[in-house]
């Protein structure tokens, strides 16, 4: 083969970043994957994509993260990217209450389009703006408990909890996968090393695959 995936990993997980426009999804992604934050970032048009590998227990887990445009009208394009996702960070802005109110709709959207086992983390971003806070930690926590999602407050600017939020999601996915593997012995939503999967048709944008893995 002309190429091989040069990184080595045990699991490949597809994760989506969703939530209202302007809550900081793209900066969370750039903080996690490149340790960068930009005050001068452009609004996301369509979808963006980045990856990072981390260690979970004794395994290397690679996250393929899709960052989606937040404006409602873009769901016509972005919802196709939910399919096949095994994890999601549902982001709101702790300084804008309306972005928290909309979490319920995002959750519904997510659950309509994804597997029931998807690991969801509710993320209250911009926690550094203490004097502007409009959503209390308690309210968000209570909501997350009710909806059975994980919850964390982050600041992409101050790099607070960003690493933790992603790591927690990936760890929990890994846990689900290990459990499912024990129960069923085979699992179509995850990608054990060395296995190329095909999900649906070639138009299926959710499909994740590891190229060139079987030729060595």
């Amino acid at each position: 083969m002309a190429y091989r995936a040069d990184d080595d990993y045990d699991y490949l997980f597809k994760v989506v970043l969703i939530g209202d426009s302007g809550v900081g999804k793209s900066n969370l992604l750039s903080r996690f994957t490149r340790n960068e934050f930009s005050l001068e970032s452009k609004s996301t048009i369509g979808v963006e994509f980045a990856t990072r590998s981390i260690h979970v227990d004794d395994k290397v887990v690679k996250a393929q993260i899709w960052d989606t445009a937040g404006q409602e009208r873009y769901r016509a394009i972005t919802s196709a990217y939910y399919r096949g996702a095994v994890g999601a960070l549902l982001v709101y802005d702790v300084t804008r209450h309306v972005t928290f109110e909309n979490v319920e709709r995002w959750l519904k959207e997510l659950r309509d389009h994804t597997d029931t086992n998807i690991v969801i983390m509710l993320v209250g971003n911009k926690a550094d703006l203490r004097h502007l806070r409009a959503v209390s930690t308690e309210d968000a926590k209570a909501f997350a408990e009710k909806e059975n999602t994980f919850f964390m407050e982050t600041s992409a600017l101050e790099s607070m909890n960003v690493e933790n939020a992603f790591t927690e999601v990936l760890t929990q996915i890994h846990r689900v996968v290990s459990r499912k593997a024990l129960e069923v012995g085979d699992d179509s939503t995850t990608l054990p090393k060395g296995q190329t999967i095909n999900v649906g048709s070639k138009d299926d944008v959710s499909a994740v695959k590891k190229a060139g893995c079987c030729s060595a």
């Binding site: 048009i45 369509g46 990856t51 445009a69 404006q71 873009y74 016509a76 138009d203 695959k209 190229a211």
Partner: protein
């Protein structure tokens, strides 16, 4: 236009305000917070969102308006935006921003087919790697290359776009892929996505890219593919805009049928 800005209210006002500083954030004209550039941008977008409430404000429109504002007054930029979206000279473009983004979906379909026809080897590689044009080309269509391409190139494309219409976007897209073809066909999924969003500088040289783009003939096929697309989506997709739930139901029925039919 002034009246639209001052006397009418728009449901999109907050969305517009939030995006003002996120439109060409590093361009000197728009850099200053509440400066003249940002104020003009707000006025044009607000006026449009009132003028055409079906479209309102959609992310991406700011890049069109912003580019126009570098060369003309607010008033002219507003009316040129109206002319472009309503199709005063060329085909209307409002479908890029209407609910369901119908024209974006159509363009993505057309582009995917054109790639397969003009660059079969690359088209096949994309299929194999499960690369879909929505992963890299949505921005090209929604902002007519003004979102992430170097300004000198974007302007050259816009000259042609204003004069000849939207097909230059397809031609430039194909020309970019053609210039990087030999590199792209070697890349696996992740690197491919990265490469499709970060073209090398020499490929983005207008004097290389545009002549190549002009040499690619697409107008006849675009028309045929448009009809093919409409045919394909007759019934199901036209209803989807008004009734998303029904569409989902239809889809689930369809997939169930497919499942039960497959051996």
């Amino acid at each position: 236009m002034r009246q639209l800005v001052i006397y009418e209210t728009s449901a999109s006002e907050l969305d517009i305000i939030r995006d003002i500083s996120r439109t060409f954030p590093s361009h000197v004209f728009f850099q200053q917070r509440h400066g003249p550039g940002q104020r003009s941008l707000y006025n044009v977008l607000k006026a449009y969102s009132v003028y055409d409430r079906d479209v309102g404000y959609v992310q991406g429109m700011g890049f069109l308006a912003g580019l126009l504002l570098l060369y003309m007054s607010e008033e002219d930029a507003f009316w040129l935006l109206v002319a472009l979206l309503k199709g005063a000279v060329h085909a209307p473009m409002e479908g890029l921003y209407l609910v369901g983004l119908p024209l974006v979906q159509q363009y993505l379909f057309q582009f995917e087919q054109l790639v397969k026809e003009h660059l079969p080897k690359l088209g096949q590689h994309f299929s194999q790697e499960m690369i879909n044009p929505s992963m890299y080309a949505s921005q090209w269509f929604i902002t007519i290359f003004s979102y992430s391409f170097p300004f000198p190139l974007a302007l050259r494309i816009w000259d042609v776009f204003l004069y000849e219409g939207f097909q230059i976007v397809f031609q430039v897209g194909l020309a970019l892929l053609k210039l990087c073809h030999d590199e792209l066909v070697k890349l696996p999924f992740e690197k491919l996505i990265h490469a499709l969003r970060n073209f090398p500088e020499d490929a983005m040289d207008p004097d290389t890219l545009l002549p190549l783009a002009f040499s690619i003939k697409v107008s006849k096929r675009l028309e045929e593919l448009k009809q093919e697309y409409e045919e394909k989506n007759k019934g199901s997709l036209t209803q989807s805009v008004s009734n998303n739930k029904q569409l989902k139901h239809l889809h689930s029925l369809k997939s169930k049928q497919l499942l039960s039919k497959s051996p």
